[in-house]
């Protein structure tokens, strides 16, 4: 289930110094396709971020799997978004609830990016994903 994620995050995990870690995160961000401009609307912005983070979280009704899309005007947040996408995209609601983004970010030494500070939208995204998965299961 976290196969994609493990692969995607390997270079981050293997980074020997923090500088390298951030380089890898930003490289990862570059591999994430940009959102279509038409989707970069204010309604999709995560409120309260100093950076701009657009976020879409939906369930594909036919497949019953999560579809997450996002973009950011910062390179680091975009890389972190790519990690979240790798972690959750294509999972069923049951699978979503078994994934703990906090643990995964902790293992990568990136837990501070999931802090309640309003500085980035990653935490909001994770919370939205989990809430939606729970709602699906009710």
């Amino acid at each position: 289930m976290t196969n994609t994620f493990n692969k995607v995050s390997e270079s981050i995990r293997n980074a020997s110094v923090w500088q390298q870690k951030y380089r890898e995160i930003m490289l990862l961000g570059k591999t994430l396709p940009s959102l279509l401009t038409a989707l970069k609307i204010d309604d999709a912005l995560v409120p309260g971020c100093e950076s701009k983070v657009w976020m879409y979280v939906e369930f594909d009704l036919t497949e019953n799997v999560l579809v997450v899309a996002g973009d950011s005007d910062t390179r680091i947040v975009k890389g972190l978004l790519a990690l979240i996408l790798a972690l959750y995209n294509g999972l069923t609601p049951e699978q979503v609830l078994q994934v703990n983004a906090y643990n995964e970010f902790e293992k990568l030494g990136l837990i501070s990016h999931l802090s309640p500070s309003r500085g980035n939208g990653i935490k909001a995204m994770v919370e939205k994903i989990q809430t939606m998965a729970k709602q699906k299961l009710i």
């Binding site: 409120p47 501070s112 802090s115 500070s117 309003r118």
Partner: protein, 422 residues
């Protein structure tokens, strides 16, 4: 085991043995362990502000020594950590009151919290509405409603109160049904008398008529530790400094939809989504009520206060307070010439009294000579004093760090003061 001290006047004075480790607790509150006018301090002014345990003092110092930074702003480690702590205390507070984190707004105190609600409701109130207040309210839960009434044309109606300062619940319910209020503003416990209000019945009745119920919990937040979802009020305000926390911190609980529907009281940075020169879009609660740099050190230290309280079961604290209060009430009641206005039943631990026609100011001044700290005056409750037919009173208010010995010293000092005055 209970010791019976005296039994004249048909009043039992009992001192139940206490399981509470009061010696250790008193040790945790450094302010208590001092002398005033060469006498050991007997602090009976917790209704005005409580003393602080060492952990609150240390947490404040630690914040400024190692952790100081603004919250929700800087993209740097100190700021991130300060933000995490700050938000953790919000969660801790929500847990203390049994509500959700996003239903807690930080203010500088209970007074600001009531102003936030009264001001925030302005657009929802019309000249046809009635706001119920009560004669026991602290001015903080009175003047903001007077202002709201003036601004909207709404009518203020005062809840009926018995001569002795207690509520007759049946009468109150009748009154509420008759008034069909839009808002009921009422204290959970009187700061002057200590009497606890029978809120569940009142809240149920008011809400069944569609009223918004605003509870002034300044005096109840620590003594009663209410679960606000069970109490079922719409808004509830508290002050950290009356809960062994720091000064300059308070809060508002609001049922989320109602909270989010309030117009912001204070505007500025951090509460906005977007700002152009001529207009702004606000964020959702609680952010939209928290413009400006908050009392970060204070809120962090309030977390330590809540942690301190959480080491006890609340029932333990309450039982101890009640035992000490009952003992004090009984001993005070036995002194000739004392008028005692506080009921002994349903009381958070406050003695409101006078001696003959002596002025409370004189009594309090002399008590201070014996190291006994009490408050004299109208206690910011002029309408209640008028209702009781007095200009003011002496108030001795207890907290869980008081013990039987405080009561003995207080009563001894009081008798000595009476000797000076007589």
């Amino acid at each position: 085991m209970a010791t019976i001290l005296a039994n004249n006047d048909n009043v039992d004075i009992t001192m139940p043995e206490l399981k509470f480790d009061i010696t250790r607790v008193r040790h945790d509150f450094p302010t208590l362990n001092q002398s005033i006018n060469a006498c050991p301090l007997v602090y009976l002014d917790s209704g005005a502000t409580t003393q602080k345990p060492q952990c609150v003092i240390d947490t404040t110092a630690k914040f400024y020594t190692d952790e100081n930074a603004n919250v929700h702003r800087g993209r740097h480690t100190l700021s991130e950590n300060a933000t995490i702590q700050y938000e953790n205390v919000r969660a801790q507070t929500a847990t203390y009151f049994g509500v959700n984190s996003n239903e807690i707004v930080w203010t500088k105190g209970a007074t600001e919290a009531i102003n936030l609600v009264a001001n925030g409701l302005r657009k929802q109130v019309t000249a046809n509405d009635t706001i119920i207040i009560t004669p026991i309210e602290h001015h903080a839960n009175l003047v903001p409603w007077q202002v709201l009434a003036q601004q909207t044309g709404a009518k203020l109606a005062a809840m009926p109160l018995n001569k002795d300062g207690t509520f007759d619940t049946e009468l109150c319910l009748k009154f509420i049904k008759k008034q069909k209020p839009a808002i009921v503003a009422i204290s959970h416990a009187s700061n002057a008398l200590g009497n606890i209000t029978d809120l569940p019945a009142i809240i149920e009745c008011a809400k069944s008529l569609g009223a918004i119920v605003v509870v002034d919990g300044a005096q109840s937040a620590m003594h009663l530790k209410p679960n606000l979802k069970i109490l079922d009020c719409d808004f509830y305000v508290f002050s950290a400094h009356k809960m062994i926390g720091p000064t300059g911190v308070g809060g508002l609980y609001g049922r989320y939809e109602l909270l989010n529907a309030l117009t912001p009281y204070q505007t500025g940075g951090e509460m906005i989504q977007t700002v152009t020169l001529y207009e702004s879009v606000y964020r959702d609660a609680p952010a939209k009520f928290e413009s400006g740099t908050p009392n970060i050190a204070g809120i962090t230290a309030f977390g330590a206060a809540l942690s301190y309280l959480s080491q006890f079961r609340h029932a333990e604290i309450f039982e101890h307070e009640q035992a000490v209060f009952n003992y004090a009430h009984s001993r005070l009641a036995k002194i000739d010439g004392i008028y005692l206005y506080s009921s002994i039943k349903n009381n958070i631990g406050t003695l409101c009294f006078n001696y003959k026609d002596e002025h409370p100011f004189d009594l309090a001044t002399l008590l201070d000579g014996y190291g006994v700290a009490v408050r004299a005056g109208h206690h910011c409750t002029q309408p209640l004093m008028a209702h009781l037919g007095i200009n003011g009173s002496v108030r001795a208010s207890f907290a869980f760090y008081n013990n039987y010995s405080d009561v003995d010293k207080f009563i001894d000092a009081l008798q000595a003061c009476i000797a000076i005055l007589d």
